[in-house]
């Protein structure tokens, strides 16, 4: 197991290096320049500015410098925010995004799992149809529509929670988290429902019943863990969805999160910040996928990796 984890971590670093390389060169193909009013400057001025930011050197040299700094953990300096390092920029912006993402993920999957379980256990009853309807709504309504609805009713009509911004403690996080949670909620409800119905019809559930287990024990002790496996598979992509979804939701709620930062850095051609944000998103995803792979083995002993033992 330790050997497996070690190997995976090495691969994770290689993946990250490849992503850094790819996005570095892709970014060079972006139209425009990070320097504001580039066209109005004369050649001497251009040379001075480019020298200052280190973009006068040939691309391979720039790449080498960037990678060298990256290895030290330095993501470079922002072109737009004068003299600010990208590390500082991201660190400040990361917190709201992480809080929102984590809350949405936890709330969405837990409520989704409960809804899905309810639907499966009360198969073909009002509860089933009700939760299926909710799940379909959750999948088909885009998060920004849901976010606007929440803002309108809960914030501006009923004044229960703030409309936006990030200045009211946990209260500021509730509505954006809810808006973000709808996707994972709907998805996990659908997955758990389908899988639970199938698992509840399997032989080992009949055997559990034949042992004298009651409905609760059958659902939670026997069926749940087996129904969880397919959901785990989609948790990785789901986390990715949350990251991209947060771009929109953060905009709507005017939250100074990393998504908002990402969009504005692309708008201003802030190369160092784009690179930094991309790498962070990638690192996040790679870690999530790694965790999911480990979770697999924890949940299903049949796919547990055995280091060396075979």
């Amino acid at each position: 197991m330790v050997k497996y984890i070690g190997k995976r971590i090495v691969y994770m670093f290689i993946t990250l290096i490849l992503i850094a390389t790819a996005s570095f060169f892709l970014m060079q193909t972006l139209p425009g320049s990070p320097i504001a009013s580039y066209n109005k400057l004369n050649d001497t001025q251009k040379a001075i500015v480019e020298k200052k930011y280190g973009i006068d050197k040939p691309k391979p040299v720039q790449y080498a410098i960037y990678m060298k700094n990256l290895a030290k953990g330095d993501l470079g300096t922002s072109f737009v925010f004068k003299g600010k390092s990208v590390n500082d920029l991201l660190a400040k912006r990361l917190k709201p995004s992480l809080i929102l993402g984590a809350q949405a993920m936890v709330f969405g999957t837990i409520v989704g799992i409960l809804l899905g379980m309810l639907a499966a256990l009360k198969h073909n009853t009002f509860w089933d149809y009700g939760s299926t309807f909710l799940a379909i709504l959750g999948i088909s309504i885009p998060s920004f529509v849901f976010a606007s609805l929440l803002q309108y009713w809960i914030a501006s009509e009923w004044h229960l929670l703030p409309v936006g911004l990030w200045n009211d403690g946990w209260k500021s996080s509730v509505l954006p988290s809810l808006a973000l949670a709808m996707g994972p909620l709907a998805l996990s409800a659908r997955f758990i429902r389908t899988e639970m119905i199938e698992v509840l019809n399997s032989d080992y559930i009949v055997l559990a019943k034949a042992k004298g287990a009651n409905g609760f024990e059958i659902a939670f002790k026997h069926a749940f863990r087996n129904a969880l496996i397919p959901l785990i598979t989609v948790l990785g992509p789901l986390a990715a969805g949350l990251v991209t979804g947060s771009l929109v939701v953060e905009q709507i709620f005017a939250i100074p999160g990393i998504g908002e930062q990402f969009v504005s850095s692309i708008m201003t051609n802030d190369h160092a910040t784009i690179m930094g944000t991309t790498l962070m998103f990638s690192a996040f995803l790679i870690v999530v996928i790694f965790i999911v792979d480990i979770l697999y083995g924890v949940i299903d002993p049949r796919i547990r990796v055995s280091g060396g033992k075979g």
């Binding site: 198969h123 032989d203 080992y204 042992k211 004298g212 949940i299 002993p301």
Partner: protein
């Protein structure tokens, strides 16, 4: 012989989109203490449904008890509340399933799966239950039980898994053990081992066993009594010798004739013509009449009652009615009947017909 279970006039239907499937249409039998009753019949004859109905393991949304009762220790199992039924399942009546590859929970160690009914039904703490689990694993012949009880089902072979399923069924020393084709999914050598194991255990624990199978070879090996089911009813019931050597119902004749035999190698293997009846619209008379060359007009009109052949042997066929014409069973069956004392074809040592 004390009766431990009585099934009386049991009728059960499934409600499906196509309509009401009358899966069991009046089943009667008793189970005595310490005996093995085999229920045989082809697929769809209602064997499994009968036993699952005893344990109430059929889906409540579609299965309905229409009539009759299942008496166990004075209680009618078709009527008691689910809570009480949960106390009987796994403790007094337990079950071994057909396919050991799918009947164990893949994400739970086998130790926990065996311990579950022990912890549930007996007042034992964890370490006592663990001791009992290891004893059970030893009893069913899983070597190195102390270490293996922490393993998962996929780490065992098919035969071993069936042994584990048997250990689960035996965990609380049940009074009745229902084995629903426990050897069908196993290869022949493992089959023999599992059958030996079950016989062994029965000797040690004096459990009553209901053994469902469509393999007559297995029946001859394990059963004390045999019930032959067809079209949701029992058509003939008797001791294993009576069913094998003095069968009375044309369906039993057909079953026995379609058994491959070693000494008749140049003969074509007999198969019963036709298909089992559609239980959505069950036939009015004898369900087997349409496939039987011995059918009489009355078979199409009315169901035959049970005629007594001996104290232990009953068959539901009009052929046993005093007014019925004498018919010759198939040659293979006559060969069998020649060896059975009390059959009309019995040939004693001197060679005369009795």
């Amino acid at each position: 012989m004390t009766k431990i279970l009585e099934v009386k006039d049991l009728e059960l239907s499934f409600h499906t989109f196509a309509g009401e499937v009358k899966a069991i249409r009046g089943v009667n039998f008793d189970l005595h203490k310490g005996e093995t009753l085999a229920i045989v019949g082809e697929s769809g004859s209602g064997k499994s449904v009968t036993t699952k109905s005893i344990m109430r393991l059929l889906p409540e949304s579609s299965a309905e008890y229409k009539n009759g009762e299942i008496l166990f220790e004075g209680k009618d199992l078709t009527k008691i509340p689910e809570k009480n039924m949960q106390k009987i399942r796994g403790k007094d009546i337990s079950m071994i399933f057909q396919d050991p590859m799918t009947s164990l929970n893949p994400t739970m160690t086998i130790g926990r799966q065996i311990m579950e009914p022990i912890l549930k039904h007996q007042k034992l703490n964890k370490s006592e239950a663990r001791k009992k689990t290891i004893e059970l694993l030893n009893l069913v012949g899983i070597p190195n039980a102390e270490n293996r009880y922490k393993m998962y089902p996929h780490q065992f072979s098919g035969g071993q898994r069936q042994r584990i399923v048997i250990a689960i069924a035996l965990a609380c020393n049940p009074k009745i053990l229902i084995a629903d084709e426990p050897t069908t999914a196993l290869d022949v050598t493992i089959q023999a081992q599992i059958l030996e194991l079950m016989k062994d255990i029965q000797k040690k624990t004096d459990t009553s066993i209901i053994f469902i199978t469509h393999d007559l070879g297995v029946v001859a090996n394990v059963a004390d009594r045999v019930a032959v089911m067809y079209g949701g009813r029992i058509v003939e019931i008797g001791t294993v010798d009576e069913i094998f050597y003095n069968p009375q119902h044309p369906y039993t004749w057909g079953l026995l004739s379609s058994m491959p035999s070693m000494d008749l190698e140049d003969q074509k293997l007999y198969a019963i013509p036709g298909t089992p009846p559609d239980l959505l619209n069950p036939p009015k008379g004898d369900a087997f009449a349409l496939r039987s060359e011995y059918a009489m007009r009355i078979d199409m009109e009315r169901r035959a009652p049970f005629f007594k052949v001996s104290e232990t042997h009953y068959a539901a066929t009009w052929l046993l009615h005093p007014q019925a014409p004498q018919v010759e069973p198939p040659a293979l069956v006559i060969e069998r009947m020649k060896t059975f004392k009390g059959s009309r074809y019995y040939v004693d040592q001197t060679g005369g017909t009795v």
